[in-house]
């Protein structure tokens, strides 16, 4: 009985060993290709690093533009969140009853958190303080109108726009200041830089595909005898393609790291004018690129390297099959 148990327990172990051998070989081949791809950077420094540097420069420019675009968006966002408020200027000839009714209706509006009435006298005093004039007097009557200062419940742009439209439709309201125009201009600038950045990224990414592809093509050409032999002795397409894919991905990865360093460095060099720009809108911005942006650059570069290797590798294998 004991013998039988031992015999039975041996069978699955043998099967496992049999099944795992190709898997182990597959894993070993991946490991070997990975190591080879890194050794290549050491053994072929000129070819490999020239490609890496071109890739880095090609990716750094659009990545920098996209990063700046993200910061411009942030400036607008920070301003809006800091100033979820607007000022409603009413007609100077408004009757107090109408003003009171307007104030009450705004207070009941669920988009408005708080309404503060600023009288013409208080407005004049605020202006004097702002202009550092101590006391400001006017020759005639105070020309300033009553102003309703609204604190909004949210800085959502759509909510703000709908409220502006509603308030503007009231007869007694002459003017609203909500920063909408400049935030719109800022948004347009941000959209322009963002789209420009991605167009550049697409075009230069295509160029990067060719640069990496051409380097790999030359290396495949040098190894053509070996690849033909591997195909002849039963190497599968994946087996032949695998080292090329690792070469492409590692080239892309290192190119991405260099591009990320370049972007970080370039961003620091434009940080001072960027901060001055942010301060002109009453906000601040960090003087560095987000870590997630840097990771994205590396990921995009790795993907480009891998894709380039896929395209050139498959093309080469098709050619090999015709030999």
């Amino acid at each position: 009985m004991k013998k039988q148990t031992a015999k039975h327990s041996q069978v699955p172990r043998q099967n496992r060993a049999h099944l795992s051998a190709p898997l182990r070989a597959w894993r070993n081949h991946h490991r070997e290709c990975f190591r080879h791809a890194w050794r290549r950077l050491r053994d072929r420094p000129v070819g490999a690093w020239a490609t890496i540097l071109v890739l880095a420069v090609v990716l750094a420019l659009p990545a920098l533009i996209i990063s700046i675009s993200a910061h411009i968006e942030r400036i607008g966002g920070i301003w809006l969140s800091d100033t979820a408020q607007m000022d409603v200027f009413v007609s100077p000839s408004i009757e107090m009853a109408v003003l009171s009714e307007l104030q009450q209706s705004l207070q009941q509006d669920n988009r408005v958190a708080e309404v503060t009435l600023i009288s013409p006298e208080q407005g004049l005093a605020d202006l004097a303080e702002h202009l550092q004039l101590g006391q400001l007097s006017t020759a005639s009557d105070n020309p300033l109108p009553y102003v309703l200062h609204l604190q909004l419940t949210s800085n959502d742009i759509q909510l703000r726009e709908s409220l502006v439209a509603d308030v503007k439709s009231k007869e007694s309201v002459t003017h609203i200041t909500d920063g909408g125009e400049w935030t719109q201009r800022l948004a347009q600038l941000q959209k322009l830089t963002y789209e420009l950045g991605w167009w550049l990224m697409s075009l230069l990414g295509l160029a990067a595909l060719f640069v990496v592809g051409n380097t790999l093509r030359l290396e495949l050409y040098e190894r053509r005898r070996e690849l033909a032999l591997i195909s002849l002795i039963g190497g599968t397409k994946s087996y032949i393609l695998r080292p090329v894919l690792y070469d492409g991905a590692v080239t892309g990865f290192v190119g991405g790291i260099v591009a990320a360093i370049l972007v970080a460095f370039l961003f620091r060099s434009v940080a001072i004018p960027m901060q001055a720009f942010a301060e002109s809108y009453g906000t601040t911005m960090p003087a560095h690129v987000d870590f997630s942006t840097l990771i994205s650059i590396v990921a995009i570069a790795t993907a480009l390297g891998w894709l380039s290797a896929q395209l050139i590798g498959r093309f080469y294998i098709r050619k090999l099959a015709r030999v």
Partner: protein
């Protein structure tokens, strides 16, 4: 094991590499393939591992009709065939060990299996002590033996040899032929293409003779 049925291979120029060739090599047999240069020996040998395909007729290897094999099935077929190339096809920037190990690595053997099989194959051809040597350091005869060891590593069921004794001296040529007979003795099907009739006459084995792409005998 290897069956040709009315096989023709016509090139784009209109020239026939092979014309209506039919033969059958049973499992575990050694055959010589003879004929002058340009008779179609290399064309015939290329059809067996599906490196080329006939324009008409049918080639069957190990029961598989090669015309019906899918592209993904070809690597598996080729791993069952050991090819001894006329011009060696050795990787000159690698060692003897690495050259012999290549087909084993390609077919998914682990490190310890590769080592065992490479050593066994090199031992068989008498090069066990030269496994660390670079290919460029070897003589022509030694390179040909590495070529044979590489074909053996995967323990193939078929060995194809294209002019395996090309530029070797008669004694070494005989020794290499003896190796092939040893493989046949353990059940491997062997097809040796050679135009050296003097050498072939010294061994007893059936022949397939080609002339201008046609089967003569």
């Amino acid at each position: 094991m290897i069956e040709f049925d009315q096989v023709s291979r016509r090139y784009a120029s209109g020239h026939f590499g092979l014309q209506n060739v039919s033969f059958n090599i049973p499992k575990g047999q050694l055959f010589f393939l003879t004929g002058h240069s340009g008779a179609g020996k290399s064309t015939l040998l290329r059809l067996i591992p599906a490196l080329d395909f006939p324009t008409s007729g049918r080639v069957r290897v190990g029961g598989h009709d090669l015309g019906r094999l899918k592209a993904y099935q070809l690597p598996k077929l080729r791993r069952q065939i050991g090819v001894v190339f006329q011009d060696h096809h050795l990787l000159t920037d690698r060692s003897v060990f690495d050259n012999v190990a290549l087909p084993l690595l390609v077919s998914g053997h682990t490190g310890s299996q590769v080592r065992k099989r490479v050593e066994a194959a090199l031992d068989k051809v008498g090069l066990i002590n030269r496994q660390r040597a670079n290919i460029n350091e070897l003589s022509g005869g030694e390179q040909q033996r590495v070529n044979i060891a590489r074909a053996l590593g995967n323990r193939p069921s078929i060995i194809l040899a294209d002019e395996p004794t090309g530029n070797l001296d008669p004694d070494l040529s005989k020794e290499i032929f003896r190796h092939f007979f040893e493989f046949q003795a353990v059940g491997v099907t062997v097809l040796i293409a050679s135009h050296d009739l003097d050498l072939i006459d010294q061994f007893s084995a059936p022949r397939i003779e080609l002339a201008k792409g046609r089967l003569v005998s």
